[in-house]
């Protein structure tokens, strides 16, 4: 399937392994990525905090660009925060024809216009479950993640508020990571912090509280005997992985918990090598903490 692909900023900045692993995994799932390289940042909620109309207009521009991608079935992102910020803007744009016309009048200079009802924007996680399907995913697995205990880390933007994000009993999107881990042959580890905040949004405002959040959730996962975490959000990844040495200092315990991006976990099970997926680029290197030959590679043999 062809998708208008919004990679976000951080996947091309401090977590390059995310964008890279998505590019490697997409062909294995028959996803054709048409990158929206003309689009700008979603604002991550911060631009909306500054000026709501500005954030809505910038995102309407991105949606309009996505609607121009020929043959794209939908728009896909690989960042929960982008999903949350874009869903919030789209909710307002879709609710009022008057407001939409107002925003579109700003885009008119560029010949762009956002039309309601033509664009579905899904995070890779949602697309994986709803478009590709768990059964098909299961059938594509070359190296089941047998014996790998994976803790899902959902974060906030992709699970709340439920109504805006289309979460209901038919679309239990707040459980999809569990389903994907299971389909890939891994063992789901539940722990207290799996749907809590990683702390990243206040890292510059209250560093101690921010790192306490990250450290606490990582500690919960350690106590639940997880081998690693997996997250659909690169900003969560920054606080959980990049800042993990500092979080260890704040909570006063050794954590050493590897955190994988979702496409990396999928890629491993689909037969890609840890190196190809950029697993050596993490601060807590999953390659040195997890014995892949015993968990993933041996299971394939």
């Amino acid at each position: 399937m062809k998708v208008a692909y919004w990679p976000g900023c951080v996947s091309r900045g401090f977590t390059p392994e995310l964008h890279g692993s998505m590019a490697k995994v997409a062909p294995l799932l028959d996803i054709e990525l048409v990158e929206l390289d003309r689009a700008c940042c979603t604002g991550a909620g911060v631009i909306a905090e500054h000026n709501q109309e500005l954030a809505d207009t910038l995102n309407a521009r991105t949606f309009a660009l996505a609607q121009q991608v020929d043959g794209a079935e939908l728009m896909m992102n690989i960042c929960s925060t982008c999903q949350g910020a874009q869903s919030e803007c789209q909710e307002r744009l879709d609710a009022s024809a008057e407001y939409r016309a107002h925003v579109n009048s700003t885009l008119a200079g560029e010949g762009l216009s956002y039309e309601r009802g033509l664009l579905t924007n899904k995070n890779f996680l949602w697309l994986l479950v709803e478009e590709i399907g768990l059964e098909r995913l299961r059938s594509l697995v070359k190296r089941p993640l047998t014996n790998l205990k994976v803790g899902p880390f959902y974060g906030c933007y992709i699970v709340r508020p439920r109504e805006r994000l289309g979460i209901d009993s038919e679309h239990p999107r707040d459980h999809y990571l569990d389903h994907v881990i299971d389909a890939l042959g891994g063992t789901v580890i539940e722990y207290a912090g799996m749907r809590k905040c990683c702390g990243f949004p206040i890292i510059t405002m209250n560093k101690e509280a921010s790192l306490k959040q990250a450290g606490r959730h990582l500690g919960d996962a350690v106590d639940a005997a997880a081998d690693c975490l997996v997250t659909p959000c690169p900003l969560c990844h920054l606080n959980l992985d990049l800042q993990q040495p500092l979080a260890e200092g704040i909570v006063g315990r050794e954590l050493r918990m590897p955190v994988l991006h979702l496409p990396q976990l999928v890629g491993l099970a689909l037969g890609l090598e840890p190196g190809e997926l950029g697993l050596g680029r993490h601060v807590v290197r999953p390659t040195s903490v997890i014995d892949w030959s015993a968990s993933v590679v041996a299971a394939a043999a």
């Binding site: 909620g45 109309e53 700003t106 921010s210």
Partner: protein, 359 residues
């Protein structure tokens, strides 16, 4: 399938968290099976268990129609009004069909399902001066204000002080001194009121407090928890907007600087330049921000992080020194959007709570 109200009583199993601090015993779980029609409430189920099996079960309640805000509890781990949660819905969301009922979080438990609202919630409400500080001179009769300006604050006035948002606030979980969602929503009630004389003072007080306006982690827990659609996090964002844009309040917690640096970096590059965002959030939004002493101090303390990042090739020196940008033509389009929107005499805000959906 008969209508919910016509369905006959069914058996529901409740798992109640019991705790009496005065007993010296640890909290424990206790199960009771009650029989009620599925559209009846969790509160009625608890009261039936209390009536039939154990009179010592403690729960606070009064109106039983989601107005008084007394019966806030956690049902299956999520905050809710017990009287506003139907048994069939609670069972559908329960693990193994057993409905788990616990006291709310972030507040000390007095007994079983009753928490100490005075010790946390009401103290925080008091913190924001929750009354009108009237503009002088006070008119002889009523103040005359526009209808729109009062409609604007009705969303926060819908709060019934149940504490559900306080219960699940993730910032408060790690920083109990955080003023929190309920009190900040209450603060907007007066900041947004045209009759109030102290908008700047209120905002400055909240912005400068290290556990105030900028301590919210943006987790949406309060938005989800609120049974009255008050959208506390949305109100917090509005407070920030008025503080930084209308009053140019520069707080000591980097709140304003972070917002300004982020917004400016996107205007200048189209996408984020993380290596600049951090120092500018401490030192100021301009290119020179990173040379401010506060930025230097933060960069020093972040050296271990930067070291690991570079070692693992997460970051490259080129990426740190030079931003990635969107194509020039598109950047110009983005900048013209900034220009057009930011030059409006008034910010255009669409609040769906008030405007509703027209389609």
């Amino acid at each position: 399938m008969p209508e919910a109200h016509d369905r006959p009583p069914e058996k529901f199993t409740l798992k109640l968290r019991r705790y009496d601090p005065e007993s010296g015993e640890a909290p424990y779980w206790e199960e009771h099976t009650v029989e009620l029609a599925p559209h009846r409430s969790v509160l009625e189920a608890v009261l039936q268990a209390k009536d039939r099996f154990d009179g010592s079960i403690a729960i606070r309640c009064s109106c039983r129609q989601a107005i008084c805000g007394s019966c806030g509890v956690r049902v299956n781990g999520e905050p809710a009004l017990a009287c506003h949660t139907h048994l069939d819905a609670a069972k559908a969301g329960a693990r193994d069909g057993v409905i788990e009922i616990e006291p709310m979080g972030n507040m000390p438990v007095l007994k079983d399902l009753i928490v100490d609202m005075d010790a946390v919630h009401w103290k925080k409400i008091q913190r924001v001066t929750p009354w009108l500080l009237a503009k002088q001179p006070v008119p002889e009769r009523e103040y005359i204000v526009s209808k729109e300006s009062m409609v604007d604050v009705t969303q926060t006035m819908a709060c019934i002080q149940c504490g559900a948002c306080v219960s699940d606030c993730l910032a408060m979980e790690v920083d109990p001194g955080f003023i929190g969602p309920a009190a900040l929503a209450k603060a907007y009630r007066f900041v947004g009121d045209p009759r109030d004389a102290e908008q700047f003072e209120r905002l400055n007080d909240l912005a400068q407090d290290p556990q105030g306006l900028f301590d919210c982690t943006h987790c949406f827990k309060c938005v989800q928890a609120c049974p009255k659609d008050v959208n506390p996090m949305g109100q917090i964002m509005r407070l920030r907007r008025i503080a930084t844009s209308d009053h140019q309040i520069v707080d000591q917690n980097n709140g304003e600087r972070h917002e300004a640096a982020f917004t400016r970096l996107i205007r200048d590059n189209g996408i984020l330049w993380e290596a600049e965002l951090l120092p500018r959030s401490y030192g100021g939004a301009s290119w020179f921000g990173k040379f401010a002493p506060a930025a230097g101090k933060e960069l020093l303390s972040s050296l271990p992080v930067a070291f690991y990042g570079l070692m693992r090739r997460k970051m490259t020196l080129a990426g740190i020194l030079k931003p990635h940008k969107i194509p020039r033509q598109d950047l110009k389009a983005v900048q013209s959007i900034y220009e057009r929107v930011e030059s409006r005499p008034e910010r255009y805000e669409l609040n769906l709570y008030i405007a509703g959906e027209d389609e």
